[in-house]
């Protein structure tokens, strides 16, 4: 055991180039443009993924479904982050209404994004109608919010709540914080006039399709009072995760797209729920039978902008199968009934 530890330390001390590859140069492929909803209007948005040293939780423990830490690099320095941001802005300009600053971790964690870089970036975007940053709740403190509020008044804090059930968040996601932590973070953000977005995870591992559906519905109801927007993330199979290991053993299947549609339809009156089905229709992503996937993915995206359930018109023969799965999957004792 001891020997192993020594060996590991040795490895981390090995000199390595500061950063390699195109990402270090702020390659624009880690940024993209799109359309999003802002105060009921569809507006152009810019999203950028800044490479940092990575999520503090992923380095310490990690979530069962998250493989984003492969995008991190322990040797990133403050100037690298600033450079990435500058190059994205230089390439795309600022003609957007929304800018999303993603780090595959917490933008508000000063270990990840040093304070001076954070403040420079936020102040450069102070005229942007909406700047969305992602963070775990422990970094959404009154002190940090005070600091940010001074440089930018249009911040939205997006928090990966995943589910309102502490039992599921602990056992199935291994997220390492509670619903109470989220509520405190949300109230802090709102007190600083920030808006709040909550991410929910549809179908963490170790759950049947029905359990996943019911958990998502309940979580929307529970989170609605503390979030301006709820983003429903459909769990997909990312490299190097526990979810991937389970999936390879035939013990996990990403959610059906129909389950997502069901959540969106039924929660329309309760909250603004948006959804971008990443990897939709692929084996590793949320999928249906294969025939209807493309259409349903399009409709989910449409709904996210329109918030009008008239977007949902698709029907397919596999809906009977999906309904059967909802009813009977629990009796397989752990294996999905349909790949």
């Amino acid at each position: 055991m001891k020997k192993q530890l020594v060996a590991r330390e040795h490895m981390t001390q090995k000199p390595k180039p500061k950063m390699r590859g195109s990402r270090a140069r702020g390659n624009t492929q880690f940024a993209w443009t799109g359309s999003d909803l802002l105060n009921g209007e569809i507006v152009p948005s810019l999203t950028m993924v800044l490479t940092t040293k990575g999520c503090s939780w992923a380095r310490r423990d990690g979530c069962t479904m998250c493989g984003y830490n492969v995008n991190s690099n322990p040797y990133v320095q403050a100037p690298d982050i600033q450079k990435q941001f500058n190059q994205v802005i230089a390439h795309y300009g600022k003609a957007f209404k929304i800018v999303k600053l993603f780090t595959s971790g917490s933008f508000l964690d000063k270990e990840e994004v040093p304070i001076d870089v954070r403040d420079t970036i936020l102040s450069e975007l102070k005229d942007m109608p909406k700047v969305i940053v992602e963070s775990r709740p422990e970094y959404v403190t009154p002190e940090i919010c005070d600091d940010i509020a001074r440089t930018n008044e249009h911040v939205e804090v997006a928090i990966g709540l995943e589910t309102s059930s502490d039992r599921i968040r602990n056992n199935c996601v291994n997220k390492g914080f509670s619903f109470g932590d989220f509520i405190r973070a949300s109230e802090t953000a709102i007190a600083h006039d920030f808006t709040v977005k909550a991410y929910l995870l549809l179908k963490p591992p170790f759950m049947t399709e029905r359990e996943a559906l019911e958990d998502a519905l309940q979580s929307v109801r529970d989170a609605a009072p503390y979030a301006d927007t709820i983003s429903l993330n459909l769990c997909n199979v990312q490299k190097g995760t526990l979810v991937e290991a389970l999936w390879k053993k035939g013990l996990y299947r990403p959610p059906w797209l129909w389950t997502a549609v069901e959540v969106l339809k039924r929660m329309q009156e309760t909250a603004t729920v948006i959804c971008d089905p990443v990897g939709g229709g692929s084996r590793r992503g949320p999928h249906n039978c294969g025939k209807c996937d493309r259409k349903v993915v399009t409709e989910i995206k449409e709904f996210s902008l329109s918030q009008n359930s008239a977007s949902f018109t698709a029907s397919c023969t596999d809906q009977m199968l999906w309904e059967f799965v909802l009813e009977f999957e629990e009796f397989s004792y752990g294996a999905p009934l349909v790949p």
Partner: protein, 561 residues
Amino acid sequence: MTRLFEVTKRDDAARLGKLGWRGRALATPHSLESKEDLELLKESTIHRAEIDVAIVAAQEGTGTERIDADVVILAGAARFQEDPRGLTKALLGARKLANPDSALYVPALATPTNVSLLVYAGVDLFDSIIAEVKAREGYFLDADGERRFDEVSHRPCFCGVCNGANITELSFEHKVALASDHNKKALKEELNKVAEHIERGTLRELVEGRCRAAPALTALLRLLDNEYEYFERRSPIVRTATLLACSQESLNRPEIRRFGERVIERLRRRDGVLLLLPCSARKPYSRSRSHRIILAQLGELRQHLNEAIITSPVGVVPRSLEIMYPASNYDIPVTGTWTCDEREWVTACLTQYLSANTFESVIAHVSGPYRQICESTVEQLGINVVYTVDDDNVLSSASLQRLRAVAHELVDACSPARRDLRFDYMQDLADFQFGPRASEAIFPEIPKIGGLFPTYYASDRGRRIATITGSYQTLALTIEGARRYLPASGGKYCVQIDDFEPKGTVFAIGALKADPGIRPFDEVVVVNDRFIAVGRALMSGWEMQASKRGGAVVIRHVESR
């Protein structure tokens, strides 16, 4: 603690049983269809309920502690639908972990096509979940595979459910409803068929046919066949049904390999002259026309010869074991050509047989593929063999005369002792059934032999020692035989029972200690301090010890010790 399940009939690892269920008895193998039944099981895994249910995961197959529950569930079995290797490991692991008198339930896996193999591997309980899933995916299921809705549209199904209905006009929902009923019916029907085959002891024959429906199923059977020990431990010593060796996999049946092993490991070493003969369609061989003609030619010379029959798939059958299963009743497709697998297997058997014994000379009265096998064997061993068939016809007068002349010459050359051939049968059966040298304990001197072939009996000074039974042609000991065998047995083929007089059927609960080597239908000696009895085993010895329910031994005779 198992209270509700009892195995009533065994066929290798497959079982017929009765499971107490909501106040009635389910006959297993059984497919649970209603959601209430599935819920009852699921509830019972959480709360201690009327049924004692335990869950095992596939990875736990290495545990040693036996799980003692009415029903044991192999969790997540559905993931092995396309993975025969994983399935083999999981099924056998779960079966080994579960007590033999626990019913094994494999959820969400059974189809009419695979269920016979799952039962063959030792599963007792199923459900119709996949039958329902497949209907919703657009498939009709039958024992021979699946058909898509559009295929059924062209050629309607005439089963009692479908009744030749033209499904072209039906809506998808109606097609699903029909297919769902059809699939559930097909599963039930197949389970019925499986039960029937277990009853007759012919499940293996059914399984060898069913596994052709898909490569994954054939792979499953072959992988199961690699688990020789698992199946041998459950394989009956005799069957009344004829073993039909119609496929390549038949060669891998546990009883075929076990027969070969016992011929080498258990029988007395022979010397002198060996006569190799081809097999015959009629069994036992000596009743066949070809063997009668050959043996008539040899006459009294036979008493100085050792005879052995070369055959696929049993290998080498010493004359004395021709009445023992599986040599006594098997059938194979006869085409005149042998497959490479058959040649390889029989060559290996013959090589071992010739190496294990010390024959001075070997006569091979064989032709065609039999002769090729002899030649390739001899080439490896460097033994001198005299071939007595010249014109490719073992029954031609030239061949027969040559056989007689050569036999005379070789017997004269080494002048082996004369034997009573009837005693040969009894001695070899004793060793084959009870182990090496058992015949020396049972027959310390040459007994008086009576009876007609093959039901000979042996007596000593008017006391009957043993009889070859008419039903299974096993050697059954009398109490006198048992008294002779017991001191030398070392506990082999013995069952220690509690302090009661064994009568009728002795149940597993009454067996204190049993030789784990006992197999279903073995002749066994049953003892306690007061009584000695003989009877026929109904289950394996290890199972008698692990089980609390079911008959263990049917008693034939009992006496005070």
